[in-house]
Amino acid sequence: MDEYFRCFLTKWALAGVIFIALLVALNVMVDPYMVIGVPRVAGFNARKPSIETHTYLLKAYDVLRADPRTVLLGTSTVGLGIDANDAAWPSKDRPVYNLSIQGRGPYTAFRYLQHIASRTDLDLVVMGLDFNFFLDAPDPVELGPEFEQRLAVLPDGQVNTRQAWQRIRDVLQTTFSLDTVSESVVTLSANVRGESPNIVAGNWENSGYFRFIAQTGGRYVSLWDRRIIDLYRGKQVSPKAMESVKAIIHLCETRRIRLILFISPIHADELEVLDVVGSWKNFEDWKRGLVALASERPPAGSDVTVSLWDFSEYDAYSTESPSEDATMRWFRDSSHYSRELGRVIVQRILGGGDVHFGSLLSLETLDARLLDIQRQRDLYRKEKPHESQRVRDLYKSMYADVQ
């Protein structure tokens, strides 16, 4: 009788080993999360659609392989809007890597900067600053302990001794995982089709989000307006987020890395929302805080300059109205600017481009700049009263108790 069961168990064990080998081989060869670092072969595994869902995992490993001289920090606005391969980047600052993490605030940016700065000599850091990620956001709790353990250094700059263990965990968890099997199949399919979201030099290419916006024929933009009303309403600037910016500045100064900060351009709709929900003063105070941080004297011996640009204004770009097919050239929604406007930003912060776009902020120029934007606002409301009124009506429709 035992022989009957022994025979079964032998076949069971053999079949189990074969199935495990097949699934592991699939996950390793496709490497959908780029944890293992298998070479990217066109038509097989070059495209990585998981950029949309696992950015923080992909980029923690991919950025080390890229060995960049320049990194771009920020949120999805930088990920989608700034091109690390833009021709405007000077050759001395290349390769450029887009280290932005969508949906994450300044603390995450700081931690990823620490991660790469501990492993390579950076020349330049460019960081996009989005006001809504400075508003009492619980960054980065949701990423869990793996987020911290995966990075090369601890928040205090000490070497992270758990990183090697986390690397093993990541390799095991993404190799022996049914989710990875599913993602491998999705990746293979995307590569056969030749069209999918992808990561190239850290850029978030061909995003499903932009395709979705296009499908809605612009209707999503008005829904996004509802979202940003909720985002800004009743929120205060988080001191922790400001501390993270300060930490980034300090890190760059001590490592002698040039730092360019820029306040992201937002559509006039969003500027109107800021006023309607009563956050305009918060917005201005936030800018004052950033200027104060950027103007602090660097540590002795450091000759690094920190530049702070402000692109959040009423100008030809941000006051653009949707075309007949409800799309816009410079913006996708009121927060996400297009790659085309991103190119203008890159040119501008590097010293060229449209001189009427944005302004370099300093303690001396700040007040004049804020007054100038207020004047632009008044002019905008005279020229496009319906646009401004539409935002007010939307706010009232969401919060009926608001006068």
Binding site: W12, I18, S177, L178, D179
Partner: protein
């Protein structure tokens, strides 16, 4: 320590098994049992030492009461009764404190604006199951069905880890007599059968239950942000509710299989706890298939004593009792409705803390009352059994499924108000297409395209539930559970198997036009009645299930029944 955790599967279970194997082979069997008790204590301690202290105190309390009952002479009925009632009361108080104290304080805070701290009591793992098991143990000692016992057997009965956290609620006589070196030395057969059951269970949990769970929050945990919030629409509500029904089904079914499998590795056959309940033709049969050991406990220790007491009281007062189809309305109310509603209210309260669980229990009490009353009175209105079965079996199966699904809304909802809102969505009061889709200019067709994935998940799982043999049927030849028959003939639960086979027969009959489908269904029916052989194809399928299940571990969530 959850059965679907790396530490259980790759550390605890192999080490426990290896120690057991070595001790049975090279030392005394009692040493192996002691080893199982020790590892079971470690299993509990892993969840928290505070919980272990409470569990240990409860087990010791029951051991002392039961020992006193055994030592007390049968003639001293009054003392024995005091001991028994005191023991049961003590168990109920322990359970009430750790499970409901926070809820009572929170209710007081709401009703009377008091300011009690609602985090006073911890919730020891598996205390609900342990308490009922201990009450059953005391009852068996009191009725002298257990004439004697020792501390080691009592500890093994109370702590044996495969069943501690979520059942089955076993009786002493089902477990302790199995402690024999002979059964334990059947290493190879026990390992083969145990690993099959464990693999199937783990697959149900990590692949099927956790897979379909992704569609549950749509209705039960919708976005709260003003810009996204909207009432739940028709199809979204149905998909969420069906997804939750299936999640709970495969979650509990998977756990029950894993418990049977883990027990079998050590030569212990646990009783079945789950036997394709969604195939039931009526709600009475449903409760004979879902959480079978809880139903058995509630029937034996709550429902039957209540009915007996009320019957005796009514007879003493000269009132009518049940007389089949001639039963009076007052007798049905007193002897069917009242005890059923009370028993199911206890079941509801046992399952969870919150008014929605009470409503869930009462809802099932209502279903059962209607079902039982109809069973009594039906011959008056529909005497022809053959035509009744032909029409009402399929209709009853559908009605039972719908009734269970509707009740699930209360079981999962965060509050009664939330449950009512979802039920409103299920009957279409919020329309078919979500406002979000309409605002974005998408119509019904786009919405339906986006529902293909959840529809596919729900549809495929429903087919598995309704048509495929369950794990007990698959492993029938090897007696997977202590009370599951090897063959369909002469089995312990003829009604259950009979109906299960008849459902398959109906399916076979209805697809005569499709020979291949008919052949497949016939094969399913054959497997369900005869079980499978442990041959090459079986080995491959079982290997695939365990590999897929292990690969899904990293994303697996906790068992739903662990919180009860």
């Amino acid at each position: 320590m959850a059965f679907n955790s790396y530490e259980f599967i790759f550390i605890f279970l192999p080490l426990t098994y290896a120690g057991f194997w070595l001790l049975v082979r090279w030392a005394a069997y009692t040493a192996a049992v002691n080893w199982l008790i020790l590892t079971s204590i470690i299993f509990y301690a892993y969840a928290g030492l505070a919980g272990l202290e409470i569990i240990a105190s409860e087990i010791l309390f029951n051991y002392l009461i039961a020992s006193a009952l055994v030592r007390t002479e049968p003639a001293r009925k009054r003392l024995r009764r005091v001991l028994f009632v005191g023991g049961v009361t003590g168990n109920v108080l322990i359970l009430s404190y750790f499970k409901y104290w926070n809820f009572l304080l929170a209710t007081a805070n709401t009703l009377w604006a008091t300011n009690f701290n609602v985090d006073q009591a911890i919730f020891p793992l598996g205390i609900s199951f342990l308490t009922f098991q201990q009450i059953a143990f005391l009852a068996d000692v009191w009725s002298r069905q257990i004439p004697s016992f020792n501390l080691r057997d009592h500890l093994f009965f109370s702590l044996f880890f495969p069943r501690t956290v979520a059942g089955p609620i076993v009786r002493y006589k089902e477990i302790v007599p199995q402690l024999s070196a002979t059964a334990a030395r059947d290493f190879v057969p026990n390992f083969a059968v145990g690993i099959c059951l464990f693999s199937i269970g783990l697959f149900k949990k990590t692949v099927l239950a956790d897979g379909v769970a992704q569609f549950v929050p749509e209705a039960f945990n919708p976005p709260t942000a003003v810009w996204l919030s909207e009432p739940v629409s028709l199809l979204t509500a149905w998909i969420s509710v069906l997804a939750y029904t299936l999640e709970l089904y495969f979650d509990f079914s998977g756990y029950s299989d894993m418990a049977l499998g883990a027990g079998r590795l050590f030569g212990v056959k646990l009783p079945m706890n789950f036997n394709s309940p969604l195939r039931a033709h009526n709600i009475v049969e449903f409760w004979g298939r879902w959480h079978i050991t809880l139903t058995r406990f509630l029937t034996a220790y709550v429902y039957t004593p209540l009915v007996l007491h009320i019957t005796r009281t009514r007879l003493a007062k000269g009132k009518s009792v049940l007389h089949g189809r001639l039963s009076s309305l007052s007798a049905i109310v007193a002897l069917v409705a009242l005890p059923t509603l009370l028993t199911m209210a206890v079941s509801g309260v046992w399952h969870g803390v919150g008014w929605q669980f009470v409503i869930w229990g009462l809802l099932h009490g209502g279903y059962l009352t209607i079902n039982q009353s109809w069973r009594l009175l039906r011959p008056r209105f529909w005497p022809d059994q053959v035509s009744y079965d032909r029409i009402m079996k399929p209709l009853g199966a559908f009605l039972t499924f719908m009734a269970v699904t509707v009740a699930m809304v209360f079981f999962r909802a965060t509050s009664p108000a939330s449950a009512l809102s979802i039920l409103g969505g299920m009957v279409g009061v919020n329309g078919v297409v979500p406002h979000l889709y309409e605002n974005l200019g998408f119509g019904l067709s786009t919405y339906l395209v986006n529902l293909i994935m959840p529809f596919s998940w729900v549809g495929i799982l429903l087919l598995i539930v309704m048509l495929m043999p369950n794990s007990l049927e698959l492993m029938r030849r090897f007696q997977p559970a202590s009370d599951f028959p090897r063959e369909t003939k002469g089995m312990a639960h003829p009604q259950v198997i009979q109906s299960s086979v008849s459902v398959a027969s109906i399916h076979v009959a209805s697809v005569t036009a499709y020979p291949k489908l008919r052949a497949a269904l016939t094969a399913c029916t054959n497997v369900r009645t005869r079980g499978i052989a442990l041959n090459g194809p079986t080995a491959a399928v079982i290997a695939l299930t365990i590999v897929l299940a292990l690969f899904a571990l990293s994303a697996s969530s906790g068992f739903l029944y662990f919180r009860f």
